[in-house]
Subunit: 494 residues, 2 copies
């Protein structure tokens, strides 16, 4: 008898973000429609890819989640997008922009942009980053310390190389990394802070939704279940001759041979007693649970201010607004009352420059936010975001122009989303990124689960492209390929 | 009977450049005056450190050889100079300058500086360098190819990422490396071209002569022999109970237990029949002679133009003048008739900016030259250098100003110096830098000579700081320490 609350398949993918959809799409191609299901807790697909196409009063698309193709020289998602014949899916000329003109810097104590070129601010930044790298590679015994601490060490040791102005403006310029990791410099692991990129970052102007649409195009809708929150995974199941039983809060039961778990690290590390946690039966072994605690989760957010006038420089791509130094201020401390402007640095992407060719009747500034500011702003009315950023953004006003009130404010809400809980994995001081990847990637024998039919994918399970769309994408492909290979092995063994 | 043409000592150092003098100075400190001699072929000390203090009509010092402290975060020579208590030896505030403001670019087809910031030229350069790195690390099997060839591959593969102007101005921007290695891009090993620096390059405004003076301060003058060109090294000597006999063209005979050979790689690789070569008895084994042929020697030179008026931007540190593209032009080909301006890129250091605080009645431009241009210019009258560079330097003239005739031209002469023969070791395509270092550094057992009392030092014998003053310096220290250690071992073994 047909039971609408039950499905028996070969593979179930948990989570319909880019990792899950890439896995499912690959599996459907190989195993056919009937053998793959995707379970998604939210009412929409895409996970941390979320292109807002409706909120803008300027007619723009905004990626509230992932927005850039990172590592553009080696990015496989970009490579495939470029090979796309159907230009309505992705058109490099129209849809992509390298928003990487030399960043303009602003500071509370200076009118107009700081003369970065004459002050050689970028040379100091480069030296500072190199110092941090060298500091930790000098010996394996150097203990990790926060980005804030190792920054101080640079100024102690090499402050004498700098001019007074360089010392002043560069004293916390390294906080820029807060807007990369989504956590503050007193938490960021100094050891893992400095990254090497394989090429420029390419902004996806039209939004990453093209990728979700492309990936779902070959997955039949009856294989995709939204609003199905997985509450338990029984990996010793015997019913229906399937090894795994997945149950959702909404009462769906999936019996299958393989699962690909792509829920964020923030969900995976929830205790089973938690309202949004998954109960594993038998429980996950300690090698995995302790690895899950060896890294943290950041909270990168965005606030988008739209204006009916462009009162800032439309020719610049990016603005860095430096934070003030307040003795005793602990940047990571939870924010309970309106924060003081300039207490956190801001990184602002100029969408007036990004969309220059559109000749819009106005323009927008996309401001990236870091924890704990993200939590505060995402839980407050939009007016709070404006109150905080207005004095900072006012610095961007061109001579003779004044900052105007925004006509629209769009905010992210990742930290209040119980299925996401922030942005992506982030390394606090003393965190060990390799442990979780080794345990979850399934690339090494003797690691992970004994039952190899339980697979993990997502940005937190991979080194190349960690925290990025292309990392998640490749991890989904990796697990689909593993399952396909395992299935063909079992067939040839018969 | 005392013979003025004979000395019997423990250690002889061949070559009084920075490597030889550091070795000798260290050895004298430990073994005493009487046990160390230094043999120098030229009539002056310093080798490829040569500070010209007399030629300038503006009262400036010019380093005709090494001029910068490279890797300033880890440079041991700089570190010691900074610790110097006697500020008349080295005074960071007065004697050093980070001449690394964002470089201005000029091109034959453009008036005034190219708008590097708006065109994002530096982003393209960074991508290009990253591409070259990635190209060769992708697999160990990727064969080496010239910088020119791998540059073409970048434009083939990633030209689509660039704007028309970026493609135009960046098409041979990588030739900038010619002014680092002293050879042209059709020869430079792509595999070894891209370097990682440990910090900014610090220009030594007053000249590196301070270092030579410091190193020689504890070496008694009777231990230093100038104008003594070593013609033979007998390493099976038995006379005077010493293992080695060194003979010079001028008739000096040194009997010793240890030698430190610091002559340039360009001299070391000369056949013994050559007028300036060294005859080894027995000959050097093939592992060393073939390693000596596994790398080449560059010819970085300088032409310094002094003017009684500063008609260029006194606020800029560096100017890069891009070369034109001429189909079929082979950059490395020997120059027999006056070269066409813009056929080689120029790298110009603005000494008006470097010495800004002096308020000079004029200023100078220090132009770096690469092989084969260096050979041509060093063998031609100074007017030839002006003829070649004038149309290129004219691009630097500020609006409303015109280029003026120089009041003085100072040129290097390294390629005509038979004891130097160029600048420093340089890697052609397919060269293997590690082989020579392994053979000469004495750091690995089973390599180099069986008679371990024959030591080698110099910029060509070391990885960290290869081609640099601090590399040469540390190699000299390394060999002195080795000998001191070996001597104390022999004593304790008795």
């Amino acid at each position: 008898m047909y039971n609408p609350n039950e499905r028996v398949v070969q593979v179930a993918v948990i989570g319909a973000g880019v990792a899950g959809l890439k896995a499912a799409s690959t599996l459907v191609n190989k195993l056919g429609d009937a053998q793959v299901v995707v379970l998604e807790a939210q009412d929409r697909l895409g996970g941390r890819i979320l292109t807002d196409t409706t909120s803008s009063k300027l007619g723009l698309n905004y990626d509230l989640g992932a927005a850039w193709f990172h590592d553009s020289l080696t990015n496989p998602v970009l490579k495939e997008a470029l090979e796309e014949e159907d230009k309505s899916v992705f058109d490099f000329e129209k849809d992509a922009y390298f928003d990487d003109k030399d960043t303009q810097f602003f500071s509370s104590d200076h009118d107009g942009p700081i003369d970065v070129a004459s002050l050689k601010i970028n040379r100091v930044s480069e030296d500072l980053e190199k110092f941090i790298e060298l500091y930790f590679v000098e010996s394996l015994e150097v203990p990790d310390s926060s980005l804030e601490e190792v920054n101080s060490k640079f100024f102690e040791k090499y402050g004498k190389f700098l001019t007074d102005e360089q010392r002043h403006y560069c004293r916390n310029i390294i906080r820029h990394y807060e807007l990369w990791y989504g956590i503050t410099w007193d938490l960021i692991s100094g050891k893992h802070a400095i990254m090497d990129h394989n090429g420029r970052n390419l902004l996806n102007k039209n939004g990453y939704k093209f990728l979700i649409e492309k990936l779902t195009s070959n997955i039949p809708s009856q294989s995709v279940y939204t609003e199905q929150q997985v509450v338990s995974i029984d990996r010793k199941n015997k019913v229906h001759d399937k090894k795994v039983l997945i149950q959702t809060k909404q009462g769906l039961r999936i019996y299958c041979d393989y699962i690909v778990v792509t829920v964020p690290q923030s969900v995976l590390q929830l205790k089973s007693a938690s309202e949004y946690g998954i109960t594993w039966n038998p429980p996950l072994p300690s090698n995995i649970t302790s690895a899950l605690e060896s890294i943290h989760f950041g909270a990168l957010g965005k606030v988008i201010f739209e204006f009916d006038e462009v009162w800032w420089d439309p020719e610049e791509d990016r603005f860095d607004i430096l934070a003030d130094i307040t003795p005793g201020f602990v940047a990571s401390q939870e924010i309970k009352s309106p924060p003081v402007p300039f207490s956190y640095p801001a990184f602002v992407v100029n969408f007036a420059s990004v969309h220059k060719e559109k000749n819009l009747p106005g323009g927008s500034l996309v401001v990236l936010t870091q924890s704990p500011l993200t939590q505060y702003l995402e839980s407050s009315p939009a007016s709070e975001a404006w109150k905080f950023y207005k004095p900072m953004l006012a610095k961007l006003a061109l001579p003779g122009k004044n900052i105007t009130e925004p006509i629209n404010i769009i905010k992210t809400n990742w930290t209040n989303n119980p299925y996401i809980r922030g942005s992506y994995a982030a390394l606090h001081t003393d965190d060990d990124p390799s442990e979780l990847i080794i345990q979850l990637s399934g690339e090494f024998d003797g690691c992970g689960l004994i039952d190899k039919n339980i697979r993990f994918a997502g940005e937190h399970t991979i080194s190349d492209g960690a925290g990025c769309v292309h990392g998640a994408y490749m991890s989904g492909l990796r697990e689909a390929d593993w399952i396909i290979n395992d299935l063909s092995d079992s067939i040839s063994n018969i």
